[in-house]
Symmetry: C2
Subunit: 465 residues, 2 copies
Amino acid sequence: MADLNDQIAPETELEEEDAYVLDRRGVAAVLYAVEIGDRDRLLALMEPMHSADIADLLEQINPFDRGRLIRLYDQEFDGEILSDLDENIREEVMAALRPETLAEAVRDMESDDVVDLVEDLDAPQQEAILEVLEDADRVAVEQALSYPEFSAGRLMQRETVMAPEHWTVGDAIDYMRDAEELPEQFYHVILVDPRMRPVANVTLGKIMGAPRTVPLKNIAEEMFQIIPVTQDEGDVAYAFNQYHLITAPVVDENERLVGVITIDDAMEVLDEEHEEDILRLAGVGEESSLSDRVVETTRQRLPWLAVNLVTAILASLVIAQFEATIAQYVALAVLMPIVASMGGNAGTQSLTVAVRALATKDLTSANVWRVIRREVLVGLINGVVFALVMGVVGIIWFGSPMLGVVIAVAMVVNLVVAGLAGTGIPVLLEKIGVDPALASGAFVTTVTDVVGFFAFLALAGAILL
Amino acid sequence: MADLNDQIAPETELEEEDAYVLDRRGVAAVLYAVEIGDRDRLLALMEPMHSADIADLLEQINPFDRGRLIRLYDQEFDGEILSDLDENIREEVMAALRPETLAEAVRDMESDDVVDLVEDLDAPQQEAILEVLEDADRVAVEQALSYPEFSAGRLMQRETVMAPEHWTVGDAIDYMRDAEELPEQFYHVILVDPRMRPVANVTLGKIMGAPRTVPLKNIAEEMFQIIPVTQDEGDVAYAFNQYHLITAPVVDENERLVGVITIDDAMEVLDEEHEEDILRLAGVGEESSLSDRVVETTRQRLPWLAVNLVTAILASLVIAQFEATIAQYVALAVLMPIVASMGGNAGTQSLTVAVRALATKDLTSANVWRVIRREVLVGLINGVVFALVMGVVGIIWFGSPMLGVVIAVAMVVNLVVAGLAGTGIPVLLEKIGVDPALASGAFVTTVTDVVGFFAFLALAGAILL
């Protein structure tokens, strides 16, 4: 309904898989309006768009057009667009807005969105934003900022709807109808004991369906998950996904209710955590984004390439030990990358499975040895299969049965090592408190490169010469 | 609160990062109860556990213990455990349950969970499950199964709470209070026109807070997203995340309301889609799971290793063209893997960013050329940096300035190509309808291997000899 494609270019027949993608024509129409400086046309085009789609549009156009669009659109710019924007162009956009527009946008935002907006800003900029807020909102934001970054305290909204545990459905309804202001979003009434500790959750649907005299306790949710305010946001997202939560109360160190987290915020965190894992596994800075500039992107990727260079040089040092062997038998130089490459790939397979299983808490002390044994066995079987294939290739290509044997044995050795390292290294890193997604790749590749080249060349030296 | 660790081993001081992980002692206590066949002890240990944690426990123990535990626990086994179980041990568990227990468990489940349970079963097994359902539920499940796999139709629940668009808050409240049965989970009332087309969404919270005379239309949600019943579940998850939806109505081809999807189901899909992407990028079958057996795991990974073998052999064929060069200058064999490895890594960085950006619909025709230009420039800058480093290494290690020049130039060439291929290949694959997460890796590595070896060895042949 609010799909940008339908709105901007209703004549385009969308294919199913293009759903929700900003289309070229829609973007072109907006840019044309910006080009000719036609404010009315721009507003007409943007009016039906969801703030999240406007944010995407701003991210996808170039900085020059972005600046012009913002200046032309200015007064219409609202807080939701700002919170939907990618963090690394947010500052640029905030700088381009007129101060009054920015103040207005910030005043419109929910307090948890303001937290998200200001937490990465420098102190003076943060100060400037907080100043425009009403007192109550400013206090709420400052309170949230006092909790650690990436904690439940930063994620929660402070406005909750709670009721004493002895209330009936009728009490709750009367209270809500009389309340001056209810939170923008709420789906449960939280029952609390006299010391403000949450004891149960009642969905609004259940309240709607029950007679007025029924005690709230009797229609409370069966399972009830409480989140400590200092809990890591990744664990919060995990709990929502694992226990199918819609909202969960947040408590302080005295187990008193201080706020509530709703599933849409947890879903966003889950999405970000996944994104980080994927980017870390690939050796890309987890903060990276498509709208980063060249310099920033280069700076993020260079360290990982440097680590890889060290790894590659280590492998080269191993090869250098066998220069004499290679000089006598150049076919070794031709075949040696195959063994290393297969090991690297098998290792990446094992490590990805292990890193994911650690992230989803499926790989624990209860099954770690079984998983390691499985990975080693898989490496062994795959090793034997590809050993046979490469043995035959070696014989046909270079006419040497012994060369076939050498590459076959090296292949088996390296794939077994790949299975072992691919599982063992992430598990060890997790144990010593290093993010396995971040560091496993470099270690595993080093192992499979070194073992691959060494096994192949040392065997060749012993058998062929 | 319902955390397994707290429940089973309350004496264990949990570190923050171990939140929600099944702990070794808890698992051991359960297995001990199974070992001595003490049913009461087992029930006492399992009673406080959430069904999702019981499912995790079953996944993490070995098949023999799993069978014994299920037989001892049998009657207590409920439908929620079954839906929380990993698909590939679900059949094993269902086979181990007594038929009456299984029937009871299935009858307890929500209809969308039954759909999830039976959709992968063979026809006779599916039939057996459906038979135990009540008529209304069976029809609901059969109807859902008539929609394509992975579509919104499979994901939605059919029970909705709707109201004519002209109703007031009071009308809605009276209707809900008088309703015989309301859905287990609902957070919105959907307003429909006389032809059953959804026109707006009203949250229960707003209804609770508004006077009885207010028309529902006046307190409806501003943005309102409608999901076609055939839409791919991945796009559904995207829409929930993009537009911050809690529930969304699902419509058939005549735009009539047929069901509703809630965010917890969308979050699960988002989680699965991410998982698939990560596993595909690593060349691991996306269906893979930690509880797969050795044979299954081997079968899933072998094809990707076979693809890699072809890639590696291609690279070797390139090297083979330069056997004479290498024979004259063995240092080339020592250094050549470095160029290929750096290219492979840089290519993986670019392709991961591109694959993710395609998945999140952030890489579109509006910015594809800008992104490609950026990746090439980043490759160029990183290439120059590492060319300088490797040039110096070449000179120091092998005492040959010309060797330094060769490796430096090859490095720049390969990193530029890596940036180009790493972005261009995923974009092309997406265009021709192939999942870029699945196939990009093999193509990009082939390109960087071939270009890396060729550039280095050909240059060396031309300059050094």
